[in-house]
Amino acid sequence: MNFLQPIGHYVLKFFGSVGRLVLFTLTALSHCIRPPFYPRAILRQMIEIGYFSLPVVGLTTVFAGMVLALQSYTGFSRFSAEGAIANVVVLSITRELGPVLAGLMVTGRIGASMAAELGTMRVTEQVDALTTLSTNPFKYLVVPRILAGITMLPILVLIGDIIGVLGGYLVAVYQLGFNASNYIQSTWEFMENMDVVSGLVKAAVFGFIITLMGCYHGYTSKGGAQGVGKATTDAVVSASILILCFNYLLTMMFFDK
């Protein structure tokens, strides 16, 4: 029966980490609504997450829009449905690719750096030092990051949506020879408010996931440089998987007929 032992060990370990993560999340959320707040720290994180992620998100979505237009043209021209390209581009970008691609790129940029920064602060006792200076490390380190993530990701995705649709437009008009005003008109016609709104709600959820994972793995890291490295990897991997997972769940919630 010895083979049961490792199975039990891993099951216990799994539930242990799920429990710790849930406790961490609840603590973080409860601190989000209790003062004192640190506006300077929140602003700093907003600039870090929102402003400095713009180039990455912009580049990702513009190429996604461009390739969408190109590929759907190849497909649709086989049964002369080229008119649907604008529809495909705007739907795919606002509903799926905008939030998911932006979420994954920001995970790589922000999730990793948060885990590394908080992890280093943990192993060099800076987190303990905060406590001795009567500052709650949750309020000072975790809450500003989570709030900035929830608010900045939707803004990033909205900008990404516009850039992505523009990318599709550029390819359709300048490479595939569509009429510019027709293309813009059909984009507007097909787009519904719900497409954009669902994408922005997804973005807020992804922003929460990215910052939560970055903070959780960084905050709980131990064991020096190796521990910080592991925290960074764990933060990026877990956030990426959770983003794809929640993307499916949220899509089902919004568009299940």
Partner: protein, 257 residues
């Protein structure tokens, strides 16, 4: 009032899994007194400090600060108690995202007892007390040498006029001359503030210099304590082995694990 110890630890136990670290520790620190705990690595010196600060919860036993039991306090009461404390961390634990002056004035600014502008003045004043010029205030911690970081850490520890200061191996990692400078500063600033001091170290030169009373920790208990000048003629074989730094004696190092 003066017969109530500032800090009183009674029968404190703490274990990590199967490994017992504190095994019924008793210790009193009187107001205005400087107590140094000596002991080898891994004997529970740091754990003692962390339990007193509330960074860890002891498994059993009581820890009283000014006669009030602080074990298991809620976060608000804990914050009130921690206002009396400050700590000089072994590695300095300076916040490397903030300039030196914000590090030094972090506690008072976080408490909103002073503005940021007053904070800078306070920081320069406290830096002068530890013999650092005002120009240092605008540098970042990574631009300072190890000894300078320790001094900035000391300036931060005294900035909030604490009643009790903890020193975690204040001289570790410094050259002998800088170590002596730090020892002199510790004696000077605690005397000026009239603070109670509790230090842990395995540097006997440092212990002799800053201690009124020395306590030796071995296997999770205080096995000897007495005035600093009596340590050389005490007949406790454990203490004799430790202060003379001999490899053979009653203390057996866990060389083979």
């Amino acid at each position: 009032m003066s017969d109530i110890p500032k800090i009183r630890l009674r029968n404190v136990h703490k274990a990590f899994g199967p490994k017992t670290v504190l095994n019924g520790l008793d210790l009193d620190v009187m107001p205005g007194e400087s107590v140094v705990i000596i002991g080898g690595s891994g004997t529970g010196k740091s754990v003692t400090l962390k339990c007193t600060l509330g960074l860890m919860e002891p498994d059993s036993g009581t820890i009283e600060v000014d006669g009030e039991n602080v074990v298991g306090l809620g976060s608000r009461d804990r914050e009130r108690i921690n206002h009396k404390f400050s700590m000089l961390f072994q590695g300095g634990a300076l916040f490397d995202s903030l300039p030196v002056w914000e590090n030094v004035a972090f506690g008072p600014i976080a408490d909103k007892t002073i503005t940021r502008k007053q904070g800078k003045e306070l920081a320069i004043e406290k830096l002068a007390q530890v013999g650092m010029p005002a120009e240092v205030a605008d540098l970042y911690p990574s631009e300072l040498s190890g000894g300078m970081q320790k001094r900035v850490g000391l300036a931060r520890a005294i900035a909030g006029d604490p009643e009790i200061i903890f020193f975690d191996e204040p001289t570790t990692g410094l050259d002998p001359i800088m170590a002596d400078v730090i020892n002199d500063l510790i004696v000077k600033v605690t005397r000026e503030l009239g603070s109670t001091g509790l230090s842990i170290t395995h540097d006997m030169a440092s212990a002799r210099k800053i201690a009124d009373r020395i306590a030796m920790l071995y296997q999770g208990k205080i096995i000897w304590q007495g005035p600093a000048d009596s340590i050389d003629h005490c007949d406790n074989p454990y203490v004799q082995q430790f202060i003379n730094g001999r490899a053979d004696g009653p203390i057996e190092m866990a060389v083979r694990k």
